[in-house]
Amino acid sequence: MQDARSIRSARFREEREKDWTRLEELVTKAERGGVQSLRFSEARDLASLYRQATTSLAIAREISLDRALLEYLEALAARAYLSVYAPQERLGGLIGRFFAKSGPQAMRRSWIFILAGFACMGLGALVGYLLYLESNDWYYVFVPSGLSGGRGPDASTAYLRSIIYDASPSAVGLGAFASYLFSHNTRIAIFVFGLGVFACVPAILLTFYNGLIFGAFLALHVDRGLGWDIGGWLSVHGVTELSAICIACGGGLQLGAAILFPGQNTRKEALRLAGRDAVKLAIVAALMLLVAALLEGFARQLIQDMPTRYVVGWGIGSLWLAWFVLVGRQS
């Protein structure tokens, strides 16, 4: 009884130790370079040695009181489990797949939420427009002073025109690009998406409010007979930017709807399922905001001609639409 060789668990360990060390090596290799870096024989050994290790663990729990051994096997089996069942995903073609397939497909799947987003914005714009025509003072209620930049019912028509056709803006190029990207609209888009989780309400309100600002702003210019000019000025980037907000709102609504109407799933599970498409909508919206900031920072200063502005703005808008509608359909 005194001889170590008579202890069953010590013999058990001695017989298998070599396999465990080999498994440890394989796991380290798989973790470092991914399972793809293993040769065929190594991958085969990894799987079978992992099964052996779990069996060893089950036996060791029964027969061994050596805590060091138990802890080692626990850790080894858990590590190997992650290598075998949760391997590294292949990264190739990730971005291409998003553009060619999953992005537009997600857009089409959640068309109803996006439509709701556009409806919120459109309704807001309509209300803002009508309210402005009723009384100029609404403008001050809706539009924060920092955003309007001196453009309001008090400003002269000439001043409004000068901003629309501004030959010497204060910031051009990269600086303008950066400041526009972090302007009001991006913030709105992010909040609209993130706050959608709270039962849709904040997303709807924020989008509606943004529509109000837009409507009042439009009405101000239409009132002064600058309707077509402001249309062109806004078209350059606005088609892309406002659509991005509506799409972000659609994503937020999707999350909120999962909270409100989880169906047969638990709310957590419903949220997880809704997140699959919502996050793609958020990426699309982010992409569009990026393009919008590029347009706002560069193209709007370069193009001073009204019809060209319309063509550029709506042309890019229809490109987006074509991407959403046509790309990634299964034959």
Binding site: A10, A86, R272
Partner: protein
Amino acid sequence: MTDTKPQTRRQRRAARRAEREAAAARVMPPEGVPLRLPIAGVGVRLGAQITDILITGVAAIALVILLSMLDITGPNTLSAIAALIFFTIRVPYYVMAELAWNGQTLGKKFMKIKVVAHDGGPLTTHALVLRNIMKEAEVFLPGTLILTLTQANPIASWISLAWVTMALIIPLTNPHRMRLGDMLAGTHVVFLPVPILLKDLAQAPVQATYAKKERFPFLQHHLEHYGRFELQTLEAYLRAQGRANSATMAKRNRETAATIVDRIRKKIDYAEVIDEKDHVSFLQAFYKAQRAHLEQRQLFGDRRDDKHHAAAQD
């Protein structure tokens, strides 16, 4: 089993919490042997997060300095550009790092933690993108808002503060310590267990015992006193024994060994007096004998958790 029922309410609650945590850490692979992946706490994750912010922050600052040296932009737009650069470095950094290293950023590597899928499967791109985008919405954007908006707009600041606080509290409310992004993506963060195989104590002194067999003979009744807990405590002591690296520590170790030998001899009624130089080898021999005995009893269905096993059986 002694199974002393927890008395106070607090003890009961602590026991329940420990049970919940153990259940959260348990993974059931298809092989049917439950494994343990301990859940990473909020503190560790915060540490990893701060490391990552420092890494991306330094990169962003270096780029901003480079840009200002090149004199491409005016100083008035520099802050906007800085924010843009920090943003465009930060977001792809998290996503790319977690994609490339299978759920680990550099900060997570330092802290030895890892993102795993909640269902035990592989981490999908979708999940990693989602949890990192939600990190922006949860913490970074409201955080920057708090920093940038000050007196001018107190309401927005308070709302952002409430939002960030809520986002930080959510992980504390569930046993998997999932934040909002984790819930959406179906992931949680675990400690990566490190397998270190220490040498078998029952194996180690084989040569010594061959020389002088049956040096410390233990009889059946010597070994009936202790259980698993005491055995593993002795194991921990014997393992720590080898790590004494100074004279004072060695001296303290000798004293501890003397005390333990004394206690064991008294408890098990071991008549023979042990020389001081033999203390450690006595303990090793006793460990081996006791382990052999307990493991044998266990095979026969007699699990002895600690020294109260006899009382529990009555």
